[in-house]
Symmetry: C2
Subunit: 333 residues, 2 copies
């Protein structure tokens, strides 16, 4: 079954001095260690242990072959977004990272497809870079789910989304810069609690604010990690919309009626959660996503979806690859 | 089928001057309006529209009869916790609210069971008040899921939980004082996004910190709103525990193995979510909870659980009442 992983990351071989282009003290870079291991660093601090699949196309293809993944869409990681930096610096940085993504994917261009990043703090620069990235071969753009206190319903971000729709550039929304930081020291709680809340917040910001009413139907937008807590909590949201005027005041239709306006990936890590996600979103709105090759990714890429006892072949065909073909308007074969 | 709602709220007829006992500017009180309507106020500001079921036992019984709810466990609401106040003030306030709960429930003591609150910022005062509340007829104690930056794994809070276990006093953990406040203006996002994240955070704080290893097996603890996002995101947490040393360092067993250490209520507002909750937690760990009579509660109390097409009679018997009988050690009949 043709299989496309739409949510995978790379981390380029950034030197410490390259990292300083973004931040002179805490710039992100890669310390390559022995035996294919490495450490993502921020300045002098260790950020996350990784291995060579982050920067080595050959290793990726090996693992994709092992797991039966035909194509991977490859994007950077939120640590590299630079949204808090001056726009011009973030723009030039994004261009450099985007070129590195193209380089990595050019090693096997039928199997690896690059996705760009943009300086989302500046809608004009970000929009121009989307246009350029598309011309350079990027199949989509990854954005963070918010810029400072601005969620996706902020006028500037709506303008950016409208630009992407005009350019027919698909968007992957990735949670980052997690709320409740001060309450989540240790145990990766920021990734386990706050990330799924961030993603739910950004979907709800589009629904409840009425932003979807201003966005064209052809906008292609996908939320990472199965849309975070969104699908599970949708009943709570619908109930609130029914019973509180302040919930529905800017949202003309019941929240669950907006599920045909966006996609989610399948990175939810349990059969029960993936079943609920499919029950709520439908099998046309879910695309395989693994979060590979990071520690919290799916180790046996695609196995959760592929082995699900409650999905039939046609559902698997859709979620493993067909939906991705439509989302990216690419015949991957 | 005998039906016990373990998560319902009351709001006593507090006058504005009584509210000032807790906070001279923003003290909570009840403005009773026409036709059985009311407004929970904080000082001069409107906080939440309510109706007389909040303070009128007769009205509650009418609605319980209509919905087939035999017994309701009734607790205050987080607005009344007072955890940020001086301990003595919060203690005396809690005593007053607890007495009001007993008064309300005494109007129909076989149908209405009071649950106490305590000044959780002071473990000694809180523990003493638990003992007194039990003697006064409270069947359990409601606590907030954190006190400032202290989650349930803080040594003081573990000590409190241990005291409750010794006293055989069941606990309902209610989310409150929501994280990410500054990002959630409007649309009740604090209730829709941050509350379920708070509850997940507090369950994970007990699991990942190793706190459950220090707590006795007979501790009776239940988390509101189906445990927030916990059940849906448990696969993500297990995957993180498997693959990151920093997630498992204080937690000797895989997170999903701790689901027999706590209960959740059923207030999830969708058939899909309730099914997932039951798949993950099992039908012995879920008790009917409605969040009645607040605007985000279940209007047709117990109907979601009662009408679920995928539950058999024995599962419904357990979740509608039998589990609650065991949890509270009460033969409600």
């Amino acid at each position: 079954m043709f299989t496309v992983d739409i949510h995978s990351h790379f981390f380029p071989k950034l030197s410490r001095s390259q990292g300083k282009l973004l931040d002179s003290n805490h710039g992100p870079w890669l310390e390559i260690r022995k035996n294919g291991k490495g450490m993502i660093m921020t300045g002098a601090s260790e950020f996350r242990p990784v291995y060579d699949a982050c920067w080595n196309a050959e290793r990726r293809i090996e693992e994709m072959d092992r797991c039966g993944v035909d194509v991977q869409v490859v994007c950077a990681t939120p640590l590299l977004f630079g949204y808090s930096k001056p726009p011009k610096i973030a723009h030039d940085w994004a261009e450099m990272i985007n070129d590195m993504a193209v380089d990595l994917c050019s090693e096997n261009s039928s199997r690896l497809k690059p996705m760009a990043q943009v300086p989302l703090q500046d809608v004009d620069l970000a929009s121009r870079l989307v246009t350029k990235a598309k011309a350079d071969g990027h199949v989509g753009v990854q954005i963070g789910n918010h810029v400072g206190d601005h969620d996706l319903d902020h006028p500037h971000l709506i303008e950016f989304l409208q630009h992407c729709a005009r350019e027919d550039m698909p968007i992957l929304v990735h949670p980052w810069d997690m709320l409740g930081n001060e309450r989540m020291n240790g145990y990766m709680l920021k990734w386990l609690v706050a990330m799924p809340a961030e993603t739910q917040l950004s979907i709800l910001s589009l629904i409840l604010s009425g932003a979807f009413e201003q966005l064209p139907m052809n906008l292609k937008i996908c939320f990472a990690h199965g849309g975070g807590s969104f699908a599970y909590l949708l009943g709570r949201v619908d109930n609130a919309w029914e019973h509180r005027d302040i919930v529905r005041k800017d949202c003309p239709n019941v929240p669950s009626s907006y599920i045909d306006r966006f996609y989610v990936d399948s990175a939810v890590f349990s059969l029960e959660a993936l079943r609920l996600l499919t029950d709520v979103m439908g099998d046309r709105r879910i695309m395989l996503g693994t979060d590979y090759p990071f520690p919290l990714g799916e180790k046996e890429m695609s196995s959760l979806l592929r082995s699900h006892p409650e999905f039939n072949e046609s559902q698997k065909l859709r979620m493993l690859g067909l939906n991705a073909s439509e989302f990216f308007s690419i015949d991957f074969h």
